[in-house]
């Protein structure tokens, strides 16, 4: 007996997860409906809002943002990028993509920053969250699509859900890191004046941590953007959908235009959030 093949033992871990997901989907239907409602409304509301803005005004806004946070020439370059996307006939798709990313990032911050703070303050929270965050980041992102469909069906909300899970970890991690990295003496000086914990957090620790948190926001935004194409597999509309369509039709022209549009958006968002982070940095702590 050489024991070459694996013995006939089975542990169907996947099945339990499946059961759990079905259980959640069945029993927390109201909750998921609510989340669905709020999220889809905010995406469509945001898209509608962005679509109201005249195209030239939008380009000017992007130019001004680029100018303020980076430089005059960056501003012009970003303006041209947006103009080009328009000439590809992808204006509306771009707005939808921006809405999805913005919604995802905002939800990320709402969930991520408090969790990061909790991690920094409580070693139990930190011990529990750490492996979960690792798993969230290393698991192939396609895997999230399945439960997303289960909970929210096909569409933008599922896309947001999948995007969230993928892009949440950096905010949590960097918030945790940032809070713990605030100069000990600075925190002590806040205590020495008789600050309550809440006062210390909001008046000293969070502002001091802001530059690092902003770096997390930048990462999160970039990861959300990277999810755009994948998310379109569960029915997200926008630029990602165009890429998917072009693959199905083997339409090189559309593929290129949609692809380069995503690259343009990535550059603009990255540079602007980076610029914000740098502006904050000049005043913030940690250095």
């Amino acid at each position: 007996m050489l024991m070459i093949s694996f013995p006939d033992i089975t542990f169907e871990a996947g099945k339990y997860v499946d059961d759990l997901v079905s259980f959640l989907a069945d029993n927390l239907e109201a909750l998921f409906d609510f989340i669905f409602f709020v999220t889809s409304r905010s995406i469509s509301g945001l898209t509608d809002f962005l679509m109201i803005i005249p195209w030239w005004l939008f380009i000017i806004i992007i130019f001004l943002l680029g100018w303020y946070f980076k430089s005059f020439f960056s501003g012009i370059l970003y303006g041209i990028f947006i103009f080009l996307i328009g000439t590809f006939g992808l204006w509306e798709e771009m707005m939808i993509t921006i809405s999805i990313i913005l919604t995802a990032v905002i939800i990320c911050l709402i969930i991520g920053i408090p969790l990061g703070v909790a991690m920094a303050f409580n070693k139990w929270v930190s011990m529990i969250l750490r492996p979960i965050l690792d798993a969230m980041q290393t698991m192939p992102s396609f895997v999230y699509l399945i439960p997303a469909i289960f909970f929210f069906g096909l569409g933008n909300v599922s896309a947001i859900f999948a995007t969230l899970i993928y892009s949440l970890p950096p905010v949590i991690r960097l918030t945790d890191l940032a809070i713990r990295g605030v100069d000990k003496e600075v925190v002590e000086s806040a205590h020495s004046f008789g600050s309550s914990r809440w006062q210390t957090l909001t008046k000293v620790q969070l502002p001091q941590a802001l530059p690092t948190i902003m770096a997390g926001v930048n990462q999160t935004t970039m990861m959300a953007l990277a999810m755009v194409v994948i998310a379109s597999m569960v029915g997200a509309s926008g630029l990602g959908e165009q890429v998917l369509v072009s693959i199905n039709r083997i339409d090189i022209a559309l593929g290129f235009e949609a692809g380069i549009s995503i690259v343009f958006l990535a550059i603009i968002i990255d540079r602007i959030t980076n610029g914000i982070a740098e502006k904050v940095q000049r005043r913030g702590g940690n250095q």
């Binding site: 003496e185 600075v186 020495s192 004046f193 008789g194 600050s195 005043r283």
Partner: protein
């Protein structure tokens, strides 16, 4: 003199079970032995002393001797493992969280070695922080903060950020921020160590100046003996967590409690500890500006001296008359006011010998020592200045004849 802080058998031990190490110290084990045996670090052991209201109390010792650990017990940034600390009779080690907050907000403020400023806030916003968290209305806290910014000489910098200021200025902000709370007690953990020597000296003088005006109780930490003796009304010397001696600088220099302290103060610059009042001689001959030259000559003859100080009715110094001038003056029928010399050097009784040396060398007459009301209280000769640096007994040496 009222006692403001009573430190009673305070110990602070770091480690997983701090209390467990207390019996070991009581048995007399050393800091190293305890660290080896139990992996606990003794920060402070059995400190007992009082701090008086309005004094500058300096805690001095080498790095790692437990100075910071001890001072941090006073506002409970460290909770003592054992013992009690009474602030105006209230045992702060037994305070509830809310009571502690109140004590920190109202009674005691701290200045940190590396300033501990909030880099995201302007100078004004830094200084008003203590009032902001007490919900003092904006107008009012602005006004108080502004006053304190002026007190430390930073008017005009309100809207700057800490990183736009030099180290010395940043520590002024730290001081202003602490003063804004109007605490009874100021804790200062090596506040000037990060500053270069010149700025440091300037800050020491300014601190004493502020102390004079505001009459705070100041607890000041330093590892610099000269700084300690320069600014301390009383000094506590620490070693390995123990408080080895508490006393005035003069007491400690005159009677060091043990070898360690003698060694410690060996290279102290005495000229920076002793003041004019310690080495001056009380004048046994004086003439009034109403007196005639004959009286002056008689005074000098009787006391065997060659010059005599002239004072007015309230003992304020007017000048000096030499015996030669006086005799010459009588011959020429002049009055005292004609021959009085006014080019004498007047020093304050609180000036340090160090500062007197150049003055003594320049002056051709004895230095006249006055108190703060400008009254003559003594005189100092060159020899006095030099003997003050070497002799062990500096008080009231024998009368000099000159």
């Amino acid at each position: 003199m009222t006692v403001q802080i009573q430190v009673k058998n305070v110990s602070k031990i770091f480690g997983s079970k701090p209390k467990s190490a207390i019996p070991l110290i009581k048995k007399g084990l050393s800091k190293e032995e305890i660290l080896k045996k139990t992996n606990h670090t003794v920060g402070v052991y059995d400190a007992t002393f009082d701090i008086n209201k309005g004094e500058v109390f300096v805690i001095m010792g080498l790095s790692g001797s437990g100075k910071s650990t001890l001072i941090r017990c006073f506002n409970l940034l460290n909770k003592p493992t054992d013992g009690s600390i009474l602030l105006d009779g209230q045992d702060i080690t037994k305070c509830s969280r809310d009571e502690l907050k109140k004590v920190r907000q109202e009674k005691i403020a701290m200045v940190f070695q590396h300033f501990g400023l909030f880099s995201h806030r302007t100078i004004l916003a830094n200084v008003e922080y203590g009032l902001e968290i007490r919900n003092v209305p904006k107008e009012k806290r602005r006004e108080i903060a502004q006053q304190n910014i002026e007190t430390v000489g930073l008017k005009g910098y309100e809207d700057k950020y800490p990183d736009e200021l030099s180290g010395g200025m940043q520590q002024r902000v730290g001081l202003a921020r602490a003063l804004t709370n109007d605490p009874d007690i100021l804790l200062m953990d090596e506040p000037f160590s990060a500053l270069d020597p010149l700025i440091r000296r300037e800050m020491q003088l300014e601190l004493l100046d502020i102390q004079e005006r505001l009459q705070k109780t100041i607890i000041f930490i330093t590892h610099d003996v000269n700084e300690a003796f320069r600014i301390g009304d009383r000094v506590a010397v620490m070693k390995d967590g123990h408080v080895e001696q508490v006393g005035t600088p003069e007491e400690i220099i005159a009677n060091p409690a043990n070898e360690y302290i003698s060694e410690f103060i060996k290279d102290i610059d005495r000229s920076k500890v002793f003041q004019a009042s310690h080495i001056m001689t009380k004048p046994n001959a004086l003439v009034s500006n109403k007196d005639g030259l004959n009286v002056a000559i008689k005074e000098m003859r009787e006391n065997g001296i060659s010059s005599v100080f002239v004072v007015d009715r309230s003992r304020r110094i007017q000048g000096i008359v030499t015996i030669d001038d006086a005799i010459q003056g009588i011959k020429e029928k002049k009055s005292l006011s004609d021959v009085i010399r006014e080019d004498i050097t007047i020093v304050n009784e609180e000036e340090y010998i160090n500062d007197l040396i150049p003055k003594a060398l320049e002056s051709s007459f004895p230095l006249a020592v006055v108190n703060e009301d400008n009254k003559l209280v003594g005189y100092i000769l060159r020899v006095h200045v030099l003997s003050g640096l070497t002799s062990d007994d500096v008080n009231e040496s024998e009368e000099y004849v000159y």
